[in-house]
């Protein structure tokens, strides 16, 4: 997977570059908007990560220019402003996700993976059933079964599980869950998501030998069939 990182803060770019390379991505760097746009036009990337405030040409202008040229590459916009309507403007300009600096690297990595997976999934037909190991979700019938047992979930727990299963094998962070399941972008001070997750785990994993929902320390959660990946 090949990524383009447009970031004028060179030291920050160096850490991101290093971290992404360690996670197995090939990363090209651009230090201003014009250079970033040129590289994005000349080569094909799987994903663009761009800072919002850049010299010469700002990040949103780069995204708009690419979208006008029909380039559909997913874009993750980074911003130091981090305010509510900035986020709205960022998504309107054609960005696919928006992340406020400073962020934990694990947050960036989780979002990069989600975006890459999403652009792959968009090519497929819409799904009506989701499956992870023996856990199965019927999106039309709104029902969940594991092995042969029916699992009763509240509407919100269903949405939470659906979000996890759509991102199966990927780490989803607490902020991603809050955004994706509750449509809220704020930062709660208490461990709200952990409480919801522990209730979901009670419903999904209790009484089964193999847990499917796993905590990823310092990052978030993942739903995964450990046997398959082992």
């Amino acid at each position: 997977m090949k990524l383009l990182l447009i970031e004028d803060d060179l030291e920050a770019a160096r850490f991101l570059h290093k971290g992404l390379k360690e996670s197995g991505y090939e990363v090209a760097l651009a230090s201003d908007g014009r250079d970033g746009l040129r590289q994005a036009q000349e080569q094909t990337f799987d994903l663009l990560i761009t800072d919002r405030m850049l010299p010469h040409l700002d990040g949103l202008a780069v995204v708009r220019a690419l979208r006008e040229q029909g380039v559909r590459t997913p874009v993750l916009v980074l911003s130091a402003l981090g305010t509510v309507d900035d986020r709205v403007l960022g998504l309107k300009a054609g960005g696919d996700d928006y992340l406020t600096k400073p962020f934990a690297f694990s947050e960036l990595l989780a979002r990069v993976e989600a975006l890459l997976r999403r652009s792959a999934a968009e090519k497929n037909v819409p799904q009506t059933r989701l499956r992870v190991a023996d856990l199965e979700m019927d999106l039309l019938g709104r029902s969940v079964t594991r092995a042969t047992k029916d699992i009763q979930l509240t509407a919100r727990e269903f949405k939470l599980l659906e979000f996890l299963m759509r991102h199966a094998d990927q780490v989803v962070t607490r902020t991603m869950l809050l955004e994706g399941v509750w449509d809220l972008q704020f930062d709660p001070q208490t461990n709200l998501i952990d409480v919801h997750m522990s209730r979901l785990r009670q419903a999904v994993d209790k009484g089964f030998a193999r847990p499917l929902i796993h905590t990823v320390r310092g990052a978030g959660y993942v739903i995964r069939d450990e046997d398959k990946s082992a």
Partner: protein
């Protein structure tokens, strides 16, 4: 606020001036009327007195027969002028003159009197008022001399009629002019008020319009516009300072986080060092969160987000927030209830409103003892949509309530708790952004925070 043209100061002024002017016109015309009437009456009285004097002289010269002759002579020659004469004996029986008979039942008091004569003019009966003077002659005969004053009466009537019309038209003219003046003024004031409301609402690009007449409204508009220019400049400066300060802080924090995380990921890092790095990252999170909250407060205070307001159903919002916090409350052995009633749509920013409710709920979660209750409610009264968060915890002393909304003010009971001291300030800023009333009340026991919003479209 809609201004009615009938309730403006211009209308009151016009009414006042109209009344004064009408009174003035009335007084002027009244004075002229009375003076004119006086002159006319004096004139008639002078003529009567002169006649009476002449006739009395004739009596003294030639006795009763001479006076009777004089009367018949004058009666013939003066009849066209409306002069009236009558000489009566002590029994009030006519002895001479052009009047048929004594016009009174008996003898009137005083010298001057009035009566009327019925006459036939072209076959129609006409009543002629007469002003007269009576003189008692030495032999107890009485001489009456009078003048037909119908012309004077007609003149007086016409004068009165004209005077009332004059006063009425003055009053009417004043009222109409006042109404149009008031309407014109209230329209201009209305447009000033609307523009100012929009500016207060956060649209610092609006300016008052000027019609170029350089009148007092243009002068006012110019002054207000200058003030708003200055305000916009300051706001812009403050925003820019804040943004650059935040940006400057975030840059180093961003790199600091990068460095720490990079060090933490290195395989050569020992476990104790790794634990230290994790602790440092936790602290960094806290700094970051405070900075983010400050930025949000600044942004809400600047009002610039107001331009992106959308319709938000508060009932739906508190249901979502309640559901989000319910498990956390239950874990702390607290009961969290949501009572959402009716249509509670307002115009606002959903994320900021959610943040405000969340801050209030988190506050309650932080301070109330196990077994306590938290209620989140919406209700709709005639004017406002109320969003309330109530708990039965320790509450806030009345004297501390205003201070609790100030940034970085931490109340005595908060000293031991974790938190930035910004939570309620952000709620206050978000309330101001939405022009919502923010009330902190005693829930007996506990705290009751109420936000009152204008109902949305």
């Amino acid at each position: 606020m809609k201004i009615s043209p009938l309730r403006t100061s211009a209308a009151r002024l016009a009414l006042g001036y109209g009344a004064i002017f009408t009174l003035g016109v009335g007084a002027l015309l009244g004075t002229v009327y009375f003076l004119t009437m006086k002159v006319i009456n004096n004139d008639a009285d002078a003529v009567i007195s002169a006649e009476l004097e002449g006739l009395t002289d004739a009596y003294h010269r030639a006795g009763l027969p001479g006076l009777a002759d004089e009367l018949s002579f004058r009666g013939d020659s003066w009849s066209g002028t409306g002069a009236v004469y009558l000489l009566v004996d002590p029994n009030l029986v006519k002895e001479g003159g052009n009047l048929q008979k004594w016009p009174f039942e008996d003898i009137p008091d005083g010298q001057w009197t009035q009566f009327s004569i019925e006459a036939q003019v072209n076959g129609a009966p006409v009543t002629h008022p007469v002003r007269a003077s009576i003189s008692l002659l030495p032999d107890n005969h009485r001489l009456l001399v009078g003048i037909d004053v119908i012309q004077q009466r007609r003149f007086a009537n016409t004068f009165r009629y004209a005077m009332l019309w004059g006063i009425g038209l003055t009053a009417l003219g004043g009222a109409v002019a006042g109404y149009f003046l008031s309407r014109r003024l209230s329209r201009r004031v209305q447009s000033v008020a609307e523009t100012c409301d929009a500016i207060v609402g956060g649209d610092l690009n609006r300016r008052l319009s000027m019609d170029g007449s350089q009148d007092e409204f243009d002068a006012l508009a110019q002054a207000v516009n200058n003030m708003v220019d200055r305000l916009a400049e300051n706001t812009q400066l403050l925003r820019a300072t804040f943004d650059s300060a935040a940006h400057d802080l975030r840059g180093p924090l961003y790199r600091l986080r990068g460095r720490l995380e990079d060090a933490g990921r290195m395989p050569t890092t020992d476990a104790p060092v790794r634990a230290g790095i994790d602790a440092a990252l936790t602290e960094l999170d806290r700094v970051q969160r405070t900075l983010a909250t400050l930025l949000q407060i600044a942004q809400a205070e600047s009002g610039s987000v107001a331009a992106h307001h959308v319709r938000v159903d508060l009932a739906e919002l508190i249901t979502d927030i309640g559901e989000l916090y319910e498990p956390a409350a239950r874990e702390k052995h607290l009961t969290l209830r949501v009572t959402a009633t009716g249509n509670c749509a307002v115009n606002g920013n959903r994320q900021l409103l959610a943040q405000a409710v969340a801050n209030l709920v988190e506050n309650s979660l932080k301070y109330i003892a196990p077994g306590g209750h938290i209620d989140i409610r919406t209700q709709h009264d005639t004017q406002l949509v109320w969003l309330e968060v109530l708990d039965d915890g320790p509450g806030i002393a009345p004297d501390d309530r205003a201070g609790a909304l100030q940034p970085f003010v931490r109340l005595p009971q908060a000293q031991s708790k974790d938190g930035s001291g910004l939570g309620l300030s952000l709620v206050a800023a978000i309330a101001r952004l939405h022009h919502a009333q923010l009330l902190m009340e005693d829930n007996q026991p506990g705290l009751r925070v109420r936000l009152g919003f204008a109902a949305g479209a």
